[in-house]
Amino acid sequence: MFRFVMRRLMWALPMTLIITFVVYVALRVGTDPLASYLRVNQRASEKKIQQYIETNGLYEGFGGYVRGYLQWLQGFVTFDWPRSIKGSREVWPEFRDAMFNTLRLGLTATFLGILIGLSFGIFVALKPGGLRDATVSTSSFVAISTPPYVSALLLQLLFAVYWSKWFGQSLLPTSGVYPPGHRGFDLVLMIKHMILPVTVVVIQVVAVYARYMRASLLEVLNSEYMRTARSKGISERRVLVRHALRNALIPIVTVAAIDIGAILGGLIITERIFSYPGLGDFFLGAYDNGDFPQMMPWMFFFTLVVIAFNLLADVLYAVLDPRIRLG
C-alpha cells in the first residue's frame, strides 16, 4: 500500500510541473502579460515597465519561457509573488481570502449535495420503475440540463426581486458575503448570503449523484452475489447495508474525488452571478484584466487540487476495492 501511494506521489510531481508549464505557456501566449500591463497602466514609465518584465520573467522565445517559468516557480514557492498589474496589489492576501470563501461555499454545497443526492439515488434504486423513480429521474435530468446560472437567475428573480415586490421585503440577499459596508463577523448574515449560491450548486450536485447512485446501486442489486447473500438467511437490512450499499458506494467515492473539477467549475459560475468573492470571481476578474500575476497562482493551485484529487481517487479505489491490484 505504502509503495503504491509513494509511486503515485512520485508521478504527481513531474505531472504538476509539466502541466503548469503548459499552462504557463498558454497564459503567456494567451493573455500577453506585457500588453495587458500596458493597457491597464497606460502612463507607466520605461523603468516601471522594465521592472515588471523582470519580476515576472517575461522573456521571449521557448528558452525564455522555460527561464521565465522557473523564475516564476521559484518566486511562487518562496512566497515572493509578483504583484498584480492593476494597482500593484499583493496577490496572496486576496487569493487567500477568496480561497476561504470558496472553501466555505464549496464544502457546504458539496457535502449537502452528495448527501441528498445519494439518499435520493438509494431511495429510487430500491424501488425502480415506479412513479417515484420517474419523478426523481426526470427531475435530476432537468437539473442536469439546467446550467447553474440559469437556476441562479430564476432563484434571484423569485426570492429577491419578486419576493420584495409581493411582500415588501426581499427574502434572501443575492450578492456578496455581507451587505455592502458591513464590518466584522456575523454568522447569521453570512449564512443568509450563502443560501442561494449553495442552493444553486446543491441542485447540480444532487442531480448528478442521485443518478450515479441509482445506476450503481441498481447494478449491485441485480448482481448474483445479492442472491447469494439473501440465500444465507441474513436480515434484509444486513443484505442491503453490508452487501449492496457498501459495494455500490465504491465507484461513487472514486467519481466524487475526480468530479471535484466539475463541482469547482459550477462554483466559479455561481460565484460570479452572486458576486461572491471566491476563487471563481477572483479568476474571472483576473482574466478580464489579463492579470498574469494573479492568474498563474490560481492555475497552479487548481492544477495541484486536480492532481491531488485524482491521486486520492486512485488510492481510495485501491483501498476500497480489493479487486484492484496494487503496484
Binding site: E224, R230, S231, G233, E236, I250, D321, R323
Partner: protein
C-alpha cells in the same frame, strides 16, 4: 430408500407478469427428495429448473407469483412469512450457484462470507465462527485454509471458488443442498473433483442434494434419481439407470442422443427451440418439436404415469419405450 422426505413440491407453479403477458415459467411440478439421496434435475436452458428452486427459497424478483406447495421438513414455504423463509435459507436449504465468481461478494473476504453464513443461524463468537469456517474450507479440500480465508474471491481459481461456495453452503449442516449447475463453468477435471465433494457430503452428512444441470453425463455419474423438465413441467422421472437404458419420452431420448458417448459418432441436437412461455403450446408442450407427435398430443396434457421403472408424461410412452435413445 426408506429415508424420510425432506423436500417436497406439489403442483408448484411460478409465473412472471411482464409487459407482454404472463411468463409461465413453472407449470405444476411434483418432486420428493429424501435425505441422503442425490436427485438430478435436467432440461434444456429455459425449462424452468432454476426458477423452481429459487422460487421455493423466495429468491425470485418481487413480481414473481408462486403457487402450489413446497415443504421442507414439513414447513410450508409458499406464502410463508419472511421470518420463516429466513430461517429456512442457509439453515435447512442451502444453494450453490453456477458461476461462483459472481455469486461471491467481490469485496468481502472469503472467511467473512462463511462466518456471516454461520452466524446468521448459530450464536457463536466471531472468532469461533472463523475457526469453524477454516475447518469447512479444509473439509472441501482447500489447502492452507487459514491464509485463504483472508483472501478475496478474485484471488481464487474457478474450482477453488466453487469449493468455497460449497463450504459456505454446508456451514449450517442443511438438510437440502441445491446445486444449480455447479460444474457448468468449470473444466472437466475440476468438474469431477467438485462432483466428488458433493458425493462426499451426501454420504457423510446424509444431506439431500438436488443437482440441477443440463448435462445428463453429470447426472449419470452421481445422481440416484433423475427428473427431466421441459417447458415448466416434469416430462419423465425415475432411477438413473432406467432412464438411461430405456427412456420413453421423446424429449429425454433427444437429450440422450445429444450426449457424447462411446460408440456413437454423431451428436444429434434436438431440432427446434424451447417454446415461448407466455403462450406455451397446448397439450404436450414438446409436441411441436417431437418426431412422434400425434393429433391427441395437442388436445390433452399428458400426466405422469408408470412405464416400466420410470414415470413418463408421454401419451405414446409404451410404444416409444422400445425405440431407445
Amino acid at each position: 430408500m426408506t429415508n424420510e422426505v425432506v423436500l417436497s413440491l406439489r403442483d408448484f407453479r411460478v409465473t412472471f407478469p411482464t409487459l407482454f403477458g404472463d411468463v409461465q415459467a413453472v407449470r405444476g411440478i411434483d418432486l420428493d427428495v429424501r435425505a441422503g439421496e442425490i436427485v438430478g434435475v435436467v432440461g434444456e436452458s429455459g425449462s424452468g429448473k432454476s426458477v423452481t428452486f429459487l422460487g421455493l427459497m423466495g429468491l425470485l424478483p418481487k413480481g414473481a407469483r408462486i403457487s402450489g406447495s413446497a415443504t421442507v421438513n414439513g414447513t410450508e414455504l409458499v406464502g410463508a412469512p419472511r421470518q420463516v423463509l429466513r430461517e429456512v435459507r442457509g439453515r435447512k436449504v442451502a444453494m450453490i450457484f453456477q458461476d461462483p465468481l459472481s455469486a461471491l461478494n467481490p469485496t468481502h473476504r472469503i472467511g467473512h462470507q462463511i462466518v456471516e453464513m454461520i452466524r446468521a443461524h448459530q450464536s457463536m463468537s466471531k472468532a469461533a465462527a472463523m475457526e469453524r469456517a477454516i475447518e469447512l474450507l479444509n473439509d472441501v479440500g482447500i489447502p492452507q485454509p487459514r491464509e485463504r480465508a483472508r483472501q478475496y474471491p478474485h484471488e481464487f481459481s474457478g474450482g477453488m471458488r466453487q469449493r468455497v461456495m460449497i463450504a459456505m453452503a454446508i456451514a449450517n449442516d442443511p438438510d437440502v443442498l441445491i446445486a444449480d449447475e455447479p460444474t457448468t463453468a468449470l473444466d472437466v477435471t475440476v468438474q469431477a473433483q467438485i462432483l466428488e465433494i458433493l458425493q462426499k457430503i451426501q454420504s457423510e452428512r446424509q444431506a439431500a442434494i438436488v443437482l440441477i444441470t443440463h448435462d445428463l453425463g453429470v447426472v449419470a455419474r452421481v445422481a440416484d434419481r433423475v427428473q427431466g423438465m421441459y417447458a415448466g413441467r416434469v416430462v419423465e422421472r425415475g432411477p438413473v439407470a432406467a432412464l438411461y437404458d430405456h427412456p420413453s419420452h421423446p424429449y429425454t431420448q433427444g437429450l440422450l442422443r445429444s450426449l457424447p458417448s462411446v460408440g456413437r459418432d454423431r451428436l444429434v441436437p434436438i431440432p427446434g427451440s424451447p417454446p415461448n412461455m407466455i403462450e406455451p403450446p397446448s397439450g404436450c408442450a414438446f409436441r411441436v418439436r417431437c418426431p412422434h407427435a400425434i393429433d391427441r398430443c395437442s388436445l390433452e396434457v399428458p400426466t405422469l404415469r408408470v412405464v416400466g421403472d420410470l414415470e413418463s408424461a408421454c401419451l405414446r410412452a409404451d410404444e416409444l419405450r422400445s425405440v431407445g435413445p
